[in-house]
């Protein structure tokens, strides 16, 4: 009885073939889709223009072969989803340890906004994703257009004092020559970065201080470059007095201040030397 039941029968085979054909007709393309995963390392977005850095991964692997990234903000506060303005082409900063894409997005009002990210790979594959960001009414740190806080950040010029005020190893003395207060009074553009090289071990935040060192060398005597350590006592998770004064609870943060002491760029997360250079070239 059993062998007869499973005996080859053309009619049954025909049925299975028909089933498979109809199933494959209903399924998407056979090309392996991109395992798109992304990190958006920003938490304090405000109403108005915001810098949105995006790190892209294919599964767990960092995506480097990307030809274009387009960002479109959509309004979720209406019945049917509506695009806000036109799509923005993100700029790639592959000179950073972890290549990232910067998109400048406009968030019109307080609340949640949808973001559609379209990613085009060099091999022709593409993927898109939808996620939300929150535009806050206010944030605690200085924003673009506000006056920078004249803090008495610590300075040092010998190895013993440097080791006391920064976790960078080896520290670059060029980043600790002038306090924020004196830098703002100098009339020159100033870059102030809050980062913790020793304790921020992920590849997308620690290299910010390396970008600072390169900029300090390239813009010597034209721009003040200052690094402020995040923690006063890491074991107790006590933040430095300047961090608290600037209203920062996360890191890394970099502020670019013009010669008049006004914040012209407020940059959270990764920051490549090229991105910082492009900003400063507009100021000097």
């Amino acid at each position: 009885m059993i062998p007869t039941l499973f005996r080859f029968q053309p009619r049954i085979l025909y049925f299975y073939v028909l089933l498979l054909v109809s199933l494959s007709a209903c399924t998407p393309s056979t090309q392996a889709p991109l395992a798109l995963q992304a990190v958006v390392p920003v938490s304090d977005l405000v109403v108005g223009k915001n810098r949105l850095p995006i790190l892209l991964y294919d599964g767990e692997t960092l995506l480097r072969e990307v030809s274009a990234v387009q960002i479109q903000v959509v309004n979720l506060q209406v019945q049917s989803v509506q695009a806000v303005g036109s799509a923005v082409n993100a700029v790639n900063y592959s000179d950073y340890a972890v290549p990232y894409w910067r998109a400048d997005v406009e968030l019109p009002s307080v609340g949640y906004w949808g973001v559609q990210a379209s990613v085009q790979l060099m091999d022709g594959r593409s993927a898109s994703a939808e996620f939300v960001v929150e535009a806050k009414a206010s944030v605690t740190m200085p924003t673009v257009g506000t006056v920078a806080i004249a803090s008495d950040s610590p300075t040092a010029d010998n190895p013993t004092d440097l080791a006391r005020i920064t976790s960078a190893y080896p520290p670059d003395p060029a980043l600790y020559q002038i306090s924020i207060r004196d830098a703002l009074a100098s009339g020159k553009p100033t870059v102030i970065s809050f980062a913790t090289p020793a304790y921020c071990q992920t590849s997308y935040c620690a290299p910010v201080v390396e970008s600072l060192s390169a900029i300090a060398k390239a813009f010597a005597n034209k721009v003040n470059v200052i690094h402020v350590e995040v923690y006063r006592d890491y074991a107790k998770q006590e933040k430095s007095a300047v961090m608290l004064e600037w209203g920062l609870s996360t890191e890394p943060w970099t502020f670019v201040v013009d010669g008049q002491g006004t914040v012209v760029e407020s940059l959270q997360g990764p920051l490549s030397e090229r991105e910082l250079r492009e900003i400063l070239e507009r100021l000097v």
């Binding site: 889709p33 939808e130 921020c200």
Partner: protein
């Protein structure tokens, strides 16, 4: 090899091991930013059937207030009730009920790490078939199995067999 040389070599080895162990014990192995280690469904997964659960596992424990959001195409948000796993505080997960329909989905996480850092990220996956398809497939499979059985039943039961033709002499 002289005994003295062997002893000095072992002493050196022990000293090295002790130093290495103490260095690795006291070096702070703390990461200031939390990263997603694993997502379920996996990034870019193409699933035949809708998942029953979504989850993200991070490299560090996360705090209450961390959130998961799931979006279908056109920002159609799927209701989730995310919670941190009691057994593994690095894992944030949510059941998916009712089951989601076929399409592309983006799973977004907005988490608060132990050091207070807020981090967001997202991953995508596809679902090919819904529950109706599953029922249809099960039905087709059942029919495919029963068809030969019916034929067999017809063939073997004597009362179904047609009477033999009378032979002409």
């Amino acid at each position: 090899m002289p005994m003295r040389k062997i002893l000095s070599f072992s002493r050196l080895l022990i000293t090295f091991l002790v130093l290495w162990l103490s260095a690795s014990w006291f070096t702070p192995r703390i990461f200031a930013h939390t990263e997603a280690l694993q997502t379920e469904p996996a990034a870019g997964a193409v699933l035949w059937l809708a998942p029953r659960e979504v989850s993200v596992t991070f490299d560090q424990p996360i705090l209450a207030g961390s959130n998961l959001r799931l979006f279908g195409e056109g920002f159609k948000e799927i209701w989730l009730a995310p919670y941190i796993d009691e057994q593994d505080p690095r894992r944030l997960h949510s059941i998916l009920y009712p089951r989601i329909t076929p399409g592309k989905y983006t799973l977004q996480w907005i988490i608060i790490a132990e050091d207070g850092h807020v981090l967001t990220g997202f991953t995508t996956f596809h679902v090919r078939l819904d529950d109706d398809w599953l029922i249809a497939l099960a039905f087709c499979g059942l029919v495919a199995l029963l068809l030969p059985a019916k034929q067999l039943w017809k063939k073997r039961t004597p009362w179904n067999q047609s009477p033999a033709e009378p032979t002409q002499s």
